[in-house]
Amino acid sequence: MNRDHASGSGGPRSRPQAALLRAEGLSLRRDGRDILSRVDLWVRPGEVHGLLGPNGSGKSSLAYALMGCPDYVTEEGRVRFAGRDVTGLPMTERARLGLTLAWQEPARFEGLCVRDYLGVGPADGDLERIEEALEAVALAPRAYLNRPVDRTLSGGERKRIELAAVFAMRPRLAILDEPDSGIDVLSLEDVARLIRRMADAGAGVLLITHRDEMAGVADSASLMCQGAVVATGGPDDVRTQYRRSCRLHMESLGRQPWNGESGPQAGRETA
């Protein structure tokens, strides 16, 4: 794993010259509330950058804003991708540059089979590429190629197919919004392996997660709270800070974390 840049002190990373994706001072307001507040964040090629934070801290909103979703147009700040200012670009154009997003709750498509769905976009119907993507998420192509991407898939199957769709795209940078939610414990390893495989192939990955097991895949991490990035550094330090902040939050509510300060459940309970 490429952890050479991870700060042991938990302090902010030095700003890289070769960031693939860079958010600079992104701010978003909605209904009079700050959703994102001057967010700075960057991801380098071949790097998995974990994004942690409690529910409602703005992680998914940041993902949508980076992807250029129409409802998440930022008021301030810039997004740079592959050396280009993409702030004003629509999501289709960003995707064509190699940026993509796997949704936390993937859409379901009536009548569209897995083969068609994975063949959309850069994969361009290439069966070999589609089968490789399914195998990468431990789904047997023979069993899944003709399955509809609709309500007949379980939540976990749909999540894996979403990851396979991203993998088949061979993006330069993938934003994965909680790819581990709804995935059984045994399959987490498959998801982690897929993420590493993408990074090892040179792609950047922005990994939004609550789970310690998945955060362990990251080379670096940031912690979000109330729409702002409050810490960036090595993943271990950021995770420690996350647990600590969760514990403080729980105590402020007059409750005890159910698995102690260092246990992975501490963060999940608050989340």
Binding site: M91, E110, G121, P122
Partner: protein
């Protein structure tokens, strides 16, 4: 003339061979596979305008046809207990751009039979054409009938299509119908199905259509769930764009104990098109249960953005979603 037709696919009259070939070519151009008609042990009936061009029967499946001035009268009988290996193919169409085709058909599906019908209606050059299908269908006790009707129209839209069916499903019977008009222009479509279901019987009606320009789509489907434990569902999937209009009316009557009915309508509307859905729920027994759901409007944003995040522009993404829904 009423004729019992031959036992293998062949042009009924040598002089019609050219028209038969033209029909098959039109079917091929529309995306169908006419080679299917060459398969052995296949029951098929090919009708152009008011002429039976070809036919073939298999054991347990019998056709009788009578040619009329503007169409044909067909009796299709499936013997009790018959289970044809392959679907029965019915091909109807007209090659001239103008005219009238009236198909009156009577289906008798014997008790415990199990049969699938694939019906292709091809009108590649229609500019001023009317196609009327009047059917009575009797599905015997414990029998199963799958009926799929796909239309292939040309680009002009000058066609009226009026499929009408009165269906009786006896106790334990099963009737599953899929009507699809998604290739070429719709023109004016008026689907009118009336289905009665007996004890523990099942009926499922699926209608799919894609209207463009000034196409008009009308769907009127009525399910009478008359027998105890009868089940029925209507599923309507329609996309309209430009100035097309869609009007869907479905009725499900729960008339007996433990009858279960559901109506599911999804319509995608683009441009200046207009779509409406009117579900009628009627329950006449306090142990019956009928539900409905409808979603009419633009394409689901989440689906749209998911595809745009793969690099499709909005039009391409809508096309993928609509094609999926109408598949």
């Amino acid at each position: 003339m009423r004729a019992r037709l031959g036992s293998h696919v062949q042009a009924a009259e040598p002089g019609w061979a050219a028209e038969y070939e033209a029909m098959l070519e039109a079917y091929r151009e529309a995306g169908g596979d006419p080679e299917i008609l060459s398969l052995p042990r296949l029951a098929a009936l090919v009708v152009s305008a008011n002429r039976v061009l070809a036919s073939s029967e298999v054991p347990g499946v019998r056709f009788e046809a009578e040619e009329r001035p503007n169409g044909i009268l067909a009796r299709i009988t499936v013997a009790p207990g018959a289970r044809p290996e392959r679907p029965v193919h019915l091909c109807f169409g007209m090659l001239p751009p103008e005219g009238l085709q009236e198909i009156e058909s009577h289906f008798e599906i014997g008790a415990s039979a199990d049969v699938r019908f694939l019906t292709h209606c091809t009108f590649p050059r229609a500019t001023r054409l009317r196609h009327v299908m009047d059917a009575t269908i009797h599905v015997g006790e414990g029998a199963s009938m799958d009926y799929t009707e796909a239309h292939f129209h040309g680009p002009h839209g000058g066609i009226d299509v009026l499929p009408r069916a009165s269906v009786q499903v006896e106790a334990g019977g099963r009737f599953v119908s899929t009507f699809s008009l998604v290739h070429g222009r719709v023109g004016r479509l008026e689907v009118d199905y009336d289905v009665s279901v007996g004890r523990n019987g099942l009926a499922e009606l699926t209608t799919k259509a894609f209207g463009r320009a000034d196409d008009h789509i009308g769907v009127n489907e009525v399910l009478h769930l008359d027998g105890e434990g009868a089940r029925g569902m209507t599923k309507t999937r329609i996309a309209v764009r430009d100035e097309a209009v869609s009007e869907v009316s479905t009725t499900a009557e729960g008339n007996a104990p433990l009858a279960r009915g559901h109506m599911d309508c999804a319509e995608i509307v683009r441009d200046r098109a207009v779509a409406s859905n009117t579900p009628h729920v009627v329950v006449r027994d306090d142990r019956a249960h009928v539900t409905h759901e409808a979603a009419i409007g633009t394409v689901n944003r989440k689906e749209l953005q998911t595809l745009m995040a793969r690099g499709l522009d909005e039009d391409e993404a809508v096309d993928v979603i609509v094609r999926g829904m109408l598949r």
